[in-house]
Symmetry: C2
Subunit: 135 residues, 2 copies
DNA sequence: TTAATTGCAAACGGTTTGCCACGTT
DNA sequence: AACGTGGCAAACCGTTTGCAATTAA
């Protein structure tokens, strides 16, 4: 929400941590991780910086499936699978379908700016944890 | 969470109201609407019944992270457009792509149970409200 | 210097829950 | 009678925000 953004060690550490993982972490996970090296860092700082980074296009917010937001330093168009049992979220190596937006725009009358595809299911770990019967 | 479910006028009224609209309403909207004919109805009842109906497969929950949940009495596989300006959600008359799940299953190792496609953009009303320049 | 940023803690908003009376079966 | 359900209100939990002190530019 500021005209210029300064470089702070907190924001830098947050982005570094988010870039170091492919786990699409929650704010709480990031907060916990950051406290190891920055014990004074507060939740407010994490949330404020996540929103600054999102505003700058350096971070993607995954608002879907679960109750908590998840964050992704990979801002390219890509798709996700979420485990409905443990909450884990993985990337899916599917090609981005950019043409979809035009078709949706024609159908809806909206000006379409983007789309999201999420798959739901049980992850391999949860599958093996509950035996082969699964569902 | 009960073994059997009784028929109550509250639950019936809730399902009727949800079925009467295509607006993918929030719990608050449903609560307000229900209070017109059932002034004593409480929020707890609305939430509990929404979860019972979801459990029974009569209602679909559209979760969007930290934002409000929306509910849909159309439980068939279909896709949505959401206006990022006013929050409105519309159905999109696109054919359901059931084959997607198999491809995602092969790629991910998850047992895929479903998927969801959401489009984002500005709805016609918000577009005309802000002039043709838009963005 | 000065405005963005932080830490802290309180506030917020949507959702869930405990309790007890009530209503369906 | 038995037990699912409703109303009420408090609790919960993720996220946001006000404020005074700090810090990058």
């Amino acid at each position: 929400m500021a005209l210029t953004h300064r470089q702070t060690k907190q924001r830098r550490a947050l982005l570094d941590l988010l870039r170091s993982t492919k786990s699409h972490p929650t704010a709480a996970w990031l907060y916990d991780g950051l406290r190891k090296n920055h014990p004074e860092m507060s939740q407010g700082t994490v949330y404020r910086n996540l929103s600054v980074l999102a505003e700058q296009g350096l971070v993607q917010v995954l608002r879907s499936g679960s109750a908590q937001d998840r964050f992704d330093a990979d801002t390219s168009l890509h798709y996700h699978v979420a485990c409905t049992r443990c909450g884990r979220v993985d990337d899916l190596p599917l090609p981005p379908e950019t043409e979809r937006n035009k078709a949706a725009e024609a159908l809806s009358g909206y000006r379409i700016t983007g789309h999201r595809i999420d798959y739901y299911g049980i992850c391999p770990e949860c599958l093996s944890a509950s035996g082969s019967s699964g569902s």
